[in-house]
């Protein structure tokens, strides 16, 4: 029993922090909110050079053979810097399922390109019902000779505009199936959604999009098992990202509270402020431990559904409490866009909603408890 990071993990963390402090200033984050792409190809390339996109894939696919804990460490640093872009959609929501369920050919085609940063991918799962369970998938995939024809409307598809490939979830005659679809296929129509975090989520309409049968990921009709894994991995990845963000929010808040003088004393010396900060710390520690425990279980190949749901429910709700306190302590100045607080506040909500908020995950926990 030991909750410490290993030496290599400490190194990874430090390298990532130093690199991102240099390469991903908050000005870049704001710029990306305005731009069309929502990410910086230059930063993306440099991150790939550091091996980050291949972190969790084996060396035979040009990866670094890291595990899920390593990934969470890296994501924490990305969350701290609010790195914008399709990292989680590409590596976690697409790369991992290809690695675990793809054919040799699919793995060979996709993974090295993901690792090298050449390939951006995303997941088209959610539909207008916004349900995360099986019944939420109504898009149809019709088998026609050597092709499938996919039709349906997908929402909240991250970075669809810059993606090269989309994993689309649709209902074939045999049941839920995952398809690897080139993002520029005829019949695909994109509309950017205006979101709280300006984080480039899209409506993607598939209108009779033709995909060869070889592009099925996993078994036809057996896709829901994979989706559940993707949902779990992605939820956990977002927890890792958010834990890093929240740590930064607390640091900003504490240093502001120590600097800001009112009534001839630093506001941080007022107990009401101190106690809010203490609560922020406990919220964040809770999120961090739950997230690391779940990631550790995943890395050991142990069942982690319950732990992941615990991490996601807690982290989502803690992120709201922490950001609210951060804002309250910054007061007026925190509401302006030349200050970073609001960036974290908006993203916390996006994160909380992604892959299930508290009630959704509590229901999973209740089931896991045998209720």
């Amino acid at each position: 029993m030991n909750l410490d990071l290993s030496e290599e993990q400490e190194m990874l963390k430090k390298t990532a922090r130093d690199f991102l402090e240099q390469e991903c200033p908050r000005s870049l984050v704001r710029e990306m909110e305005q731009g069309e792409k929502g990410y910086s190809p230059e930063l993306w390339r440099k991150m790939a050079e550091l091996g980050w996109m291949g972190l969790v894939f084996p060396e035979e696919y040009s990866g670094m053979s890291g595990n899920f804990v390593d990934l969470i460490i890296l994501l924490g640093e990305m969350g701290r810097a609010l790195v914008p872009g399709p990292f989680i959609p590409t590596v976690v929501s697409s790369g991992l399922p290809i690695f675990h369920h793809g054919t040799e050919e699919q793995k060979g085609n996709f993974l090295p390109e993901i690792a090298s940063g050449e390939l951006i991918m995303t997941l088209a799962l959610t539909e207008p019902s916004t349900r995360f369970d099986e019944s939420g998938t109504e898009a149809k995939a019709q088998h026609q000779f050597t092709n499938y024809s996919i039709s349906g409307t997908k929402l909240f598809v991250p970075y669809a505009y810059v993606a090269d490939w989309i994993i689309c979830v649709a209902r074939a005659e045999e049941g839920i199936t995952l398809f690897l679809v080139p993002a520029k296929s005829p019949g695909i129509n994109l509309t950017v959604l205006k979101t709280i975090a300006s984080d480039k989520q899209f409506e993607v309409v598939f209108d009779d999009v033709k995909v060869p049968t070889a592009n099925v990921l996993g078994k036809v009709g057996d896709g829901w098992k994979i989706i559940k894994q993707i949902e779990e991995w992605s939820a956990l990845a977002w927890c890792g990202y958010e834990v890093g963000s929240l740590q930064r929010v607390l640091e900003m808040t504490v240093s502001y509270a120590n600097e800001r003088i009112q009534f001839e004393r630093p506001i941080g010396s007022f107990q009401v402020i101190q106690h809010k900060c203490a609560d922020m710390l406990m919220d964040i520690d809770g999120a961090r431990f739950l997230t690391y425990q779940a990631a550790w279980k995943v890395s050991q190949g142990l069942a982690a559904s319950m732990e992941i749901s615990m991490a996601k429910a807690w982290t989502g709700e803690a992120s709201r409490r922490v950001c609210l306190s951060g804002h309250q302590i910054h007061a007026g100045i925190g509401l302006f866009t030349d200050y970073d607080m609001e960036l974290y506040f908006r993203r916390a909500k996006a994160m909380e909603l992604a892959f299930g908020e508290g009630d959704f995950h509590r229901e999973i926990i209740a089931q896991q408890l045998g209720l």
């Binding site: 004393r265 010396s269 900060c277 203490a278 406990m282 520690d285 809770g286 550790w296 209740a366």
Partner: protein, 383 residues
């Protein structure tokens, strides 16, 4: 990183688990005495002696004082099991007085007290709080005058739990009124049978006994002093950090019992109840992880001050929420007490709903501990 115990540690946990499982009568007798509010009675002493025979009360101590020289994590495993089976997880002697004696006591003190603590034969009670010294412990006034060949003690302690059955008072007294208040405090071990000491009961509304203790011209030998004179406050603070390790076994057991009840009563299909139970499960998991974090740090020889405080706050506040949630799930029947007709799970949660208030206050109030987290953990300025 490893969130699980090693195979040897797991084996040990299993052994401790089986020990308690095989002693249902002693455990039940213990619970009866303990929850009766009077503290240690014959059954408790019998159980402690059994644990002492196995050296499980003080597994980290050197063998010559009755320990097993085991790493810290073994102590935590025992504490978790004790908490799970009987609710009590530490004695004052084993957890607070003993470690300070081990570190700062004289050879005579070590030889005289430590083996008996380890065997489960004696208990100490904490003599810190006074009417004018609660959270502001440094304000304590009970005087210890150096009379050359003895100390003369005069004053009053309050809320000193366990004094009516313990043999020794772990007493903080003022030996000097010069300089900062906290620099004039010294620690003593006082035999509670010494003439001039009187103990009167105070009962909380959850039926737990604590005491007022009066010192009226009490003479104690010079050898009663622990460590250096004037250093008492520092020893107390260090020992408090140890005392703030809060096992969660007892809460896990309650949760298991609750879950069983929910399943059997058919309430488990109610979506609101499902949400509430799941939320409790999450919070208990966070409790467990806070504790593991403290254990992980202490295993490396670090005294994790803010982490231990965070654990104490979060765990005790969770206990209160747990009790409240469960009482509300029971609805009107939630108010029914232990011996009442129609009660649910023998009124256990009604009792905990009251008793959990003590935990929020003892061992440092939630407010004081938040101050420590903010100032020492986060570096917020004091003024």
């Amino acid at each position: 990183m490893d969130f699980e115990f090693s195979p040897e540690e797991k084996k040990f946990k299993q052994e401790v688990h089986q020990f308690f499982q095989s002693e249902p009568e002693l455990c039940a007798g213990f619970m009866e005495e303990w929850h009766g509010g009077e503290g240690f009675g014959p059954k408790t002493w019998a159980l402690l002696r059994k644990l002492g025979e196995k050296h499980w009360l003080t597994p980290t101590w050197p063998k010559k004082y009755g320990g097993l020289d085991l790493p810290y994590v073994y102590y935590c495993i025992i504490q978790e099991e004790m908490s799970y089976w009987i609710g009590l997880y530490a004695c004052i002697g084993t957890a607070m007085a003993g470690p300070v004696i081990l570190k700062c006591g004289t050879e005579e003190q070590k030889d005289f007290y430590l083996p008996r603590i380890a065997r489960g034969e004696i208990e100490f009670c904490l003599g810190y709080s006074e009417p004018q010294a609660g959270s502001d412990l440094a304000n304590l006034q009970l005087r210890a005058e150096d009379k050359g060949d003895y100390y003369l003690l005069n004053g009053q302690k309050t809320f000193n739990t366990r004094c009516h059955f313990a043999q020794y008072h772990w007493l903080a007294a003022r030996t000097s009124s010069e300089g900062p208040k906290y620099r004039g405090i010294s620690l003593f071990i006082v035999d509670l049978k010494t003439p001039g000491i009187s103990i009167t009961p105070l009962m909380t509304f959850s039926g737990e006994r604590t005491n007022d203790v009066f010192y009226d011209d009490v003479k104690v030998p010079k050898s009663s002093l622990v460590g250096e004179p004037g250093m008492g406050f520092y020893y107390i603070m260090e020992a408090l950090a140890y005392e703030r390790v809060t096992p969660v076994g007892a809460y896990q057991r309650l949760f298991e019992q609750l879950l069983e009840y929910i399943k059997e009563s058919g309430k488990g299909s109610d979506p609101v109840i499902r949400q509430k139970i799941a939320q409790l499960a999450i919070e208990l998991e966070v409790c467990k992880l806070f504790t593991l974090n403290v254990v992980s740090a202490q295993s490396k020889g670090i005294i994790p001050v803010y982490e231990a405080n965070a654990a104490k706050i979060f765990i005790t506040e969770t206990e209160q929420r747990l009790a409240n949630t469960v009482v509300n799930i029971f609805g009107l029947r939630g108010q029914l007490q232990r011996d009442s007709k129609w009660n649910v799970l023998n009124g256990m949660f009604e009792f905990i709903y009251r008793q959990s208030l003590t935990e929020l206050i003892m061992r440092g109030t939630s407010e004081i501990l938040r101050n420590v987290i903010a100032q020492r953990g986060l570096g917020l300025k004091r003024r």
